[in-house]
């Protein structure tokens, strides 16, 4: 539109988000501009349609799946909630030496002069690492393909 009123301003007007002065000016303009009036009506139709748009519903099995996953992850592992480094290494299925090389990255804390790791924090750390690895390996493959092409 080249009449000084943008579509975004019309959207603001219908949501009540213009200053009173600007709202008055835009309303006055809309009263005499067919194109803007038609745009404003389209926005109002859209808002009405948005209000009627049904929510997508998750399947009824969703709660069961979440319960099962939570139970497996948080309770079914058999590992204690607060782990020693030995237990954390066993939990991650790596050697204690390998674990100690990662110690600065791990979500460990000191307790009575010894290091401990909370299982839930360790799982979060693993998840973050998994995501970073997945993204990095995909990017590296892209770089490899680009280099070859």
């Amino acid at each position: 539109m080249d009449c000084g009123v943008t579509r975004e301003e019309l959207a603001c007007l219908s949501a009540g988000d213009l200053t009173p002065e600007r709202a008055r000016a835009v309303r006055t303009h809309v009263a005499t501009c067919g194109a803007c009036r038609s745009q404003l009506e389209a926005i109002e139709r859209l808002d009405a349609a948005l209000a009627l748009l049904p929510h997508a519903e998750p399947p009824s099995s969703a709660l069961l799946n979440v319960r099962r996953a939570v139970s497996q992850e948080l309770r079914g592992s058999g590992a204690p909630e607060v782990m020693t480094l030995d237990e954390a290494a066993a939990f991650l299925r790596i050697s204690l030496d390998d674990l100690e090389e990662l110690i600065l990255e791990l979500p460990a804390f000191e307790l009575a002069g010894q290091l401990r790791i909370r299982r839930s924090r360790l799982i979060e750390w693993v998840t973050a690492r998994e995501r970073a690895y997945s993204l990095a390996s995909a990017q590296s493959e892209v770089a490899h393909i680009l280099a070859e092409s």
Binding site: T6, R7, E8, L10, A11, C12, S14, A15, D17, Q39, A42, I43, R45, L46, D47, A49, L50, A51, L52, L53, P54, H55, A56, E57, P58, P59, A62, L63, N65, V66, R67, A69, V70, E73, L74, S120, I123, E124, R131, S134, L135, A138, Q139, E141, V142, I145, L146, S149
Partner: protein, 181 residues
Amino acid sequence: MADITDDELLAMYSDGDAEAFDTLFDRYRAPVYNFAHLMLGRADGAEDMLQETFMAVARTAERYQPHGHFRSWLMRIVRNRCLNELEARRVRRRMAARSGLDLAEPPADGPSPPERLERSEQMARLRDLIAALPERQREAIVLYAFEQMSYREIGDVLGVPVNTVKTLIHRARATLALDFG
């Protein structure tokens, strides 16, 4: 449990009350799933996001600091997971395009038979138009139109100031109105 706040439910779950978790799930499964569905455009991805989001809730229940904004916190979790998934999809698409492999994304879900009966073509078209919006506008309009979140709450979820939220929402509405007719 209807009169128990979200923060209280999470504290109860943290103390071992599994039913409290189910109540939270029941309160928020639809908004979380719907947000993910509209952001990702596919039901299978939305189910994964729903599961991952509530697993994150379960993981962090013990450390959660009650602040009365559970819904914003929850929507931030699903939003971040959706953005990660969209980024991973972009990378996969670039890879597929470069390697000449036919790894095209499966098409967005069409309405299921019962939905077809109950939803007009217009509604299905509106969903498609929302799915085609730029990411930031899409997430803002979904939180605004479906979850009836305030501008401030949406700002909390997206990590942007209120004025930016308004710009995103009104730009999205203007674009949708133009295409929706």
